[in-house]
């Protein structure tokens, strides 16, 4: 941590110009050459000269309101603002003259005369641009003073000198749990308003009134920050040059003294942050300007919701117990490791080599995941490893592997800036990938068109200054039919890109595919009856996608979590190939990954059939690499996937599990089956930061470390390997990779890693697509997108540029097969699931932060018609039942969902949404069919029997006895 120096993150005042034409000018006697369109302020900053400024910031368009950044230009009249004046060839600029000094002092004097002078006790003391500028311009006294009796002309004193309340004074708004808004300190520079518009795209803030009366306000007149549209992304807080918008943590702790660059541990966007510290206390997280995925932006989760790391529920000591009915016993690390290893060894002796296995985590680092799969392959000597990515993106791996030859997205996030048409299907970036969502919305505001394919009118559908061109509100489970109908229109209306197909794809396979999709039964008219989407909409969307310029597809779990998830991914790849939308900026096929390291956990060989780098265990050459590196023989047969482990456990052949950083009892479908599987095992080892739901069935608990407590890497949805850095010592003594190593050694291995960089070296040595990856390279470049090897030493932002990885792109027929999960008289509605912005996955982390103010329970969205039929009113308790089970939650009546469809999230364990979901799964990968379950909804009085039983069992199982 000490040896890493954060690169230049000065504020250049205005955004960089993208122009290729260069202009040379002179500033204060120095020549500088910058792209055309650059502001004088930025050009000066390039020279190292910081012109005083208040309203400018290089992530916002210049505004020109504070008049502090004035300069003089030889031969021009007046004193133009350097932030709004572009450079011109040959001009001679002066940033510091007698006249400028006078003017700036005057401006500052006015500002300060209407600003409280409680700097010493202000939360922004030492981190305030107003303070800095007063110093920079040499302000030494303020001559304006209020008359002793009578009206005050200021905004900051609660009372006038006469003693009466000052009508201009507004109280502090404390409503947001993470930051305060103190209007008396506002200088109305507009930065917050612009940040909310330009960076975040929420438009929650406005300036009301004019001149002296102008005020920043969140939402409508009666709103505060919490009740307004504000999504608490923090962009305005970062933008504010004063203490007006300030993090509560800074007010509470004080300003940070050092910072460490790291990566958010929440979602697959992979935002980089500066963890700003005071000693080993985390003061705040500031999105890092040079983070290539986020460019200085963040969402509420990464920016603020880190409090779980210090939550009192964290388990800090290892624990064991003989049976799941016993209370937990706290023990030393040694005891826990020996206990776990002895039990696992005994199981293998008694029930065979295949009787135990592991689950790797999509939240842990690449290095940790690599070690866990190595544990099973090299120490347990089987391939029984799987990951939670199974339950979300395994169809992506299969579908893109079959058609393109790689299992990953084709673009980087920056590509969205060149996109003209975005087809968003089964994804809600607004909530699940907020920072990418903001970037997409920005592009949409600037004219790109949106085609939304989703059963629900999600938050993406419309926003300030844009609205989807088409919303295909399909019935859950009919993705493949709709995607094939889109292809039908493109093929029959001859909108395909023949030149691209001829050079890049297999022409015979295309012919076959063309015959298939051209069949009348795939036409939008033919499928309308069961997809519920008007044919004209489908035709319009297909034409727009094929002819609207650069078209990019962004998809999420709404595509993959179906019985035909893999077919749908193939259908998406077909669309991109048909229209030549592959291999350049602005296009492509982009899976949006759920958890922070879903990509990485797949890359690292978490799946039972493949070694790191997506190489099947059946290949002797691949096995040979690892047999040589690890000195053991590798099993050539694929191992057990999570559902297989559970089935085998119920059958009595699978007995022991080491589960790192996953909560399968809550996240996997058909909770009752998962519970039965876990209960049948004789040794379940849970390695996590909290006693999660799975731990109710565990015999050993290894306390885990948060991303703040360890070094390593995460790989985001753009294949970008980002650094995670330790900012504080592990609270439970060891980083997760150390625990896995100690456990492996207790099982008889002899591993001696002393730092995760050595694990990465082993990954690079054995995996061709990672061959060029080292910690050194990631540090120098900031991040690296794999493949990174001899051919691409700096990594690969776009793949399939000159040809597909597999050679020729492969068109594959995509026959729609209706899921077996059908509505009928008992279960007439279709349930689909999703997530919301402020909560993350099963919520173990976010529920333990103040984010609960935005979402304190899961609710069931139901259409007014369906609600009325059942006599359900807004906020009622309802019983939600499927053939698997039932649960209760509150109803939210909304026409965001179509009649016949209901929707809920699964962030709270009390809801137990997965009691409802079934064990149906994707045909190719067994990715569970979360997105379609036939259900019935009825009024209810309160929690279901299962919920009560479950809670009783959980309470019993969570008892802990402290070590003597």
């Amino acid at each position: 941590m000490k040896d890493f120096i954060i690169p230049d993150d000065r504020d250049f005042g205005t955004p960089a110009s993208k122009s290729k034409t260069m202009v040379t000018l002179t500033i204060d006697g120095f020549d500088v050459t910058v792209p055309e369109g650059t502001s004088i302020m930025r050009a000066a900053a390039e020279l190292g000269i910081s012109v005083p400024k208040l309203c400018a910031s290089d992530n916002l368009e210049a505004f020109g309101s504070c008049r502090l950044c004035l300069v003089e230009i030889e031969g021009r009249n007046g004193t133009p603002a350097s932030c709004t004046t572009p450079v011109a060839p040959g001009i001679k600029v002066k940033t510091q003259t007698g006249k400028l000094k006078e003017l700036r002092k005057g401006v500052m004097e006015l500002y300060i005369s209407d600003h409280p002078l409680d700097c010493l006790t202000c939360g922004a003391n030492g981190d305030c641009e107003l303070q800095d500028m007063a110093g920079a311009v040499g302000l030494r006294d303020v001559r304006y003073e209020a008359p002793p009796e009578g009206r005050l002309a200021n905004h900051f004193a609660p009372r006038e000198t006469s003693g009466l309340a000052n009508p201009e004074w507004l109280p502090k708004d404390d409503s947001n749990p993470y930051f305060t808004f103190e209007p008396s300190k506002c200088i109305v520079c507009n930065r917050c308003v612009r940040a909310c518009e330009e960076v975040q795209g929420t438009f929650a803030l406005t300036i009301e009134g004019r001149g002296w009366d102008s005020r920043v306000h969140a939402g409508a007149a009666t709103d505060n920050f919490l009740t307004s549209d504000c999504v608490s992304c923090g962009a305005c807080v970062q933008a504010c040059p004063t203490g007006t918008l300030n993090e509560k943590s800074v007010i509470d702790i004080g300003t940070p003294e050092h910072s460490v660059l790291t990566t958010c541990a929440y979602c697959g966007v992979g935002c980089q942050f500066k963890a700003e510290m005071r000693g080993d206390e985390l003061v705040r997280m500031i999105p890092y300007k040079h983070g290539k995925a986020n460019h200085g932006h963040s969402c509420v989760k990464g920016r603020f919701a880190y409090g779980y790391a210090a939550h009192k529920d964290r388990i800090l000591n290892p624990m064991i117990r003989a049976s799941i009915n016993d209370p937990w016993q706290e023990v030393t690390w040694d005891e826990a490791l020996t206990y776990a290893a002895d039990r696992m060894k005994a199981l293998q002796e008694k029930y065979g080599r295949q009787s135990i296995g592991v689950i790797t985590s999509s939240r842990c680092t690449n290095e940790e995941t690599y070690l866990v799969q190595k544990l099973t392959r090299a120490v347990f000597r089987n391939n029984n490893t799987d990951t939670c990515a199974r339950v979300c993106h395994s169809p992506t791996g299969y579908g893109l592997g079959q058609t393109f030859g790689t299992s990953a997205g084709t673009q980087d996030f920056d590509s969205v800036e060149h996109c003209d048409v975005a087809l968003v299907i089964g994804a809600n970036p607004h909530s699940a990938h907020p920072v990418f969502g903001s970037r997409l919305k920005k592009r949409l505001r600037h004219g790109a068109k949106l085609i939304l394919v989703d059963p629900r009118r999600t938050e993406m559908y419309e926003g300030p200054h844009y609205k989807a061109a088409h919303h295909l509100a399909l019935k859950p489970g009919t993705n493949v039919a709709i995607l094939t109908a889109l292809a039908h229109v493109i093929v029959t209306e001859k909108l395909y890109d023949e030149a691209f197909i001829r050079t890049r794809c297999d022409w015979d396979e295309f012919q076959d595919y063309m015959d298939f999709v051209a069949e009348e039964r795939h036409s939008p008219e033919a499928v309308e009856a069961f997809t519920g989407v008007p044919a004209a909409e489908v035709r319009g969307a297909a034409r727009l996608y094929a002819t609207g310029g650069n078209a990019a597809i962004y998809y999420g779990l709404g595509v993959t979590e179906h019985s035909q998830g893999s077919t749908a991914v193939i259908a998406i790849a077909n669309l991109a190939m048909l229209t030549g939308n592959i291999g350049r900026p602005g296009v492509g096929v982009n899976p949006l990954r759920g958890q922070n390291n879903v990509q990485g956990s797949c890359d690292m060989g978490s799946f039972p059939h493949e070694l790191p780098g997506y190489r099947h265990v059946k290949n002797p050459e691949v096995r040979a690499i690892y047999e040589k590196a690890w000195g053991v023989e590798i099993d050539p047969e694929p191992g057990l996937r999570i559902p297989n482990m559970l089935d085998a456990a119920v059958e009595g052949t699978f007995k022991g599990l080491y589960c790192q950083g996953e909560d399968i009892l809550q996240s996997d479908p058909d909770t009752k089956h998962v519970a039965a599987g876990l209960a049948a095992m004789e040794c379940v080892i849970v390695h996590d930061i909290f006693l999660n739901e799975t731990a109710n069935y565990a015999h050993v608990f290894f306390p885990g470390s948060t991303f703040l407590e360890k070094d390593g890497t995460f790989t985001n949805a753009e294949r970008r390997i980002n650094m995670v850095r330790k900012v504080m010592a592990p609270r439970a003594q060891y980083a997760d990779w150390e625990v896995t190593q100690m456990f492996a050694n207790a099982m008889g291995a002899d591993w001696n890693y002393t730092h995760p960089s050595q694990i990465m070296d082993e990954i690079a040595m054995t995996t061709p697509s990672f061959a060029g990856v080292t910690y050194e390279r990631i540090e120098t470049l900031g991040s690296v997108q794999w493949p990174c090897n001899e051919k691409a030493p700096e990594g690969t932002p776009l793949v399939h540029v000159d040809g597909f990885v597999r050679g020729k792109g492969k068109f594959i027929r995509t026959e729609y097969v209706a899921t077996d999960e059908k509505v009928g008289p008992r279960f007439p509605l279709l349930l689909t699931t999703g997530r919301i912005l402020s909560q993350y996955n099963v919520g173990a982390q976010t529920r333990r932060t103040a984010n609960v103010v935005w979402h304190d329970q899961d609710v069931l969205e139901i259409h007014p018609h369906d609600a009325e039929d059942r006599g359900i009113r807004q906020g009622d308790w309802v019983r939600l039942a499927s053939r698997s089970g039932e649960t209760t939650l509150r109803a939210e009546i909304t026409d965001k969902v179509s009649p016949g469809v209901v929707y809920t999230t699964f962030h709270h364990p009390d809801t137990q949404a997965n009691v409802i979901t079934t064990d149906f799964s994707d045909w190719a990968t067994n990715c569970p069919e979360y997105k379609v379950t036939a259900v019935q909804v009825a009024p209810s009085n309160g929690p279901s029997e299962w919920q009560e039983e479950y809670n009783a069992q959980a309470a019993l199982s969570r008892r802990i006895l402290a070590a003597e």
Partner: protein
């Protein structure tokens, strides 16, 4: 093998068959066998063979036809 397990194996094999049936016959046949060889661990293949050996009732014809190309696990 419980009825439940049999039902699951049949459903999963048939799901794969339905996708492979849309390909040219030979490709689909090979595709189905390879898919099961690549992704189904020995325990599941043993269960599949138990069904196939009894005539494969409930399995789609393509699965039955592909049986010869699916790797039969050694008896444990």
């Amino acid at each position: 093998m419980s009825a439940n397990t049999a039902e699951k194996i049949i459903r999963m094999a048939n799901q794969i068959a339905m996708f492979m049936e849309t390909k040219p016959h030979e490709e689909g046949l090979a595709g189905l066998a390879n898919h099961i060889n690549d992704f189904w661990e020995p325990r599941m293949r043993t269960q599949l063979f138990a069904l196939l050996d009894q005539g494969g009732a409930g399995l789609r014809p393509l699965v039955i036809e592909a049986a010869g190309r699916i790797r039969r696990p050694q008896a444990a």
